[in-house]
C-alpha cells in the first residue's frame, strides 16, 4: 500500500524519530485501511449451477490459483461470506433461492455475474421458457464477466476489477440527513 509522505504542517515528525532515523507510525484515513483489509480477503460462496462452475473450479485449483488474491476460503454458508460469484444459468425455479442466499449475506456484499447466462441469459435468451434473462433482474451486480464459459484468466481479471472497486469505496462517510427543500420555503 502506498503511504503519502505529506506531513501535517504544524506537526513536526522529526521530534519522534528513533535512534535509526525512522518514525514508527503512519498517517492515513480509516477508509483506506478498511478497504485494504476488505479487498484483500473477500470470501466467496460456493455457488455454481452449470458449466461456468467447472471454470470456477479450475480457477480454484493449482494452475490458476485464486487464493493468491485472498479468495482462498470458500465458505458453504452465505452468512460467512462477502462475495457471491453467480456462475451458471439461473432459471425461474432457482431465482427465489438465489435471492434468499443474497439476503442472508451480511453487509458489505458484492456480486460477480460470471458467464453469458448470468449476464443476460446467454445462449438461452431466445426461445426458452424457463430461463431468467440476466441475474441483475433480481440482485444488484457489481462486475459482469462475459464469455461462454469465460477463461479462468477472465475470471481473475473480473476479481481484480472488483478489488479495485472495493478500494475506491467510502465506507465510513457519515451522511447528514438531507433537508427537505419545501421545509425551507
Amino acid at each position: 500500500m502506498d503511504v503519502k509522505k505529506e506531513y501535517i504542517p504544524e506537526f513536526d515528525g522529526d521530534l519522534y524519530k528513533d535512534e535509526f532515523g525512522r518514525t514508527n507510525f503512519i498517517v492515513t484515513t480509516i477508509d483506506k485501511i478498511a478497504n485494504w483489509g476488505r479487498s484483500n480477503s473477500p470470501w466467496p460462496l460456493s455457488f455454481g449451477t452449470s458449466c461456468c462452475a467447472i471454470e470456477l473450479m479450475s480457477t480454484v485449483s493449482a494452475k490458476y490459483d485464486w487464493s493468491r488474491f485472498g479468495f482462498e476460503v470458500m465458505r458453504a454458508s452465505p452468512r460467512q461470506c462477502d462475495v457471491i460469484v453467480v456462475a451458471g444459468t439461473i432459471t425461474y425455479k432457482m431465482a427465489p433461492v438465489l435471492k434468499r442466499l443474497y439476503d442472508q449475506m451480511p453487509d458489505p456484499k458484492y456480486v460477480i455475474a460470471m458467464g453469458a447466462c448470468a449476464v443476460s441469459g446467454g445462449p438461452f435468451y431466445y426461445n426458452s421458457y424457463a430461463v431468467l434473462r440476466g441475474v441483475d433482474n433480481i440482485i444488484p451486480v457489481d462486475v459482469y464477466i462475459p464469455g461462454c464459459p469465460p477463461r479462468p484468466e477472465s475470471l481473475i481479471h473480473g476479481m481484480m476489477t472488483l478489488q479495485e472497486k472495493i478500494r475506491k469505496s467510502k465506507a465510513y462517510v457519515i451522511q447528514k440527513p438531507k433537508k427537505n427543500k419545501e421545509e425551507d420555503k
Partner: protein, 151 residues
C-alpha cells in the same frame, strides 16, 4: 433377431395390432387396454425377453398424443418400439408401466410435467421440472407464454 425377423414375429404373435417400421426399429401399435398385458408378454416371452426400457417419451401430433416406448433386450441385444395413440386432448390418461419396469417412474414424471398426460397406478406422480404453480404444459404445440422472446 434382426429387424425383419422381429417384424415377422410381431405380426404373427399379435395379429390384431398394426406393425410398422422406422429407420432403425420395428414398431408395434397398441391400444390403451392391451398395453400392460402385451408389455408383460414381451418382457417374459423366451424369444424376445425385452427386459430393459431405455426411453419413454411422448410426441404431440395435432390433435392427438402419441406415447412412444423404446425397449431392448440384454440377452439378445435387439430393440423395438411400442406406440400408443391417445385421442383425448383435454384429459389424456394412460396406465403406467411402472409394474413392468421400474425405470418408468422418472420418465413418466417428466411426461406428466411437460405434456399433461396422467398416469394411473403410478407411485408418486408430481411436477418434477417446473414449479407446482406453473400454468400450462410447455412441450405441447399450442403452448402460449408471454415471457418467451423469439427471433
Amino acid at each position: 433377431m434382426i429387424k425383419e425377423e422381429l417384424k415377422q414375429y410381431l405380426e404373427q404373435t399379435f395379429p390384431s395390432a398394426k406393425v410398422d417400421e422406422t429407420f432403425d426399429f420395428p414398431v408395434l401399435f397398441l391400444t390403451k387396454e392391451e398395453l400392460i398385458p402385451v408389455m408383460k408378454q414381451l418382457r417374459d416371452a423366451p424369444e424376445t425377453k425385452f427386459n430393459f426400457l431405455f426411453c419413454e417419451t411422448a410426441v404431440d401430433r395435432n390433435p392427438e398424443f402419441e406415447m412412444v416406448y423404446h425397449l431392448t433386450s440384454t440377452y439378445y441385444h435387439h430393440d423395438m418400439m411400442v406406440k400408443v395413440i391417445l385421442e383425448d386432448r383435454e384429459n389424456p390418461e394412460i396406465e403406467s408401466v411402472y409394474s413392468v419396469w421400474e425405470a418408468a417412474d422418472l420418465y413418466e414424471d417428466e411426461i406428466y410435467d411437460l405434456f399433461g398426460i396422467r398416469f394411473t397406478n403410478h407411485p408418486n406422480l408430481r411436477r418434477i421440472f417446473l414449479t407446482d404453480e406453473w400454468v400450462g404444459y410447455p412441450l405441447r404445440k399450442d403452448y402460449q407464454d408471454d415471457r418467451i422472446i423469439s427471433l
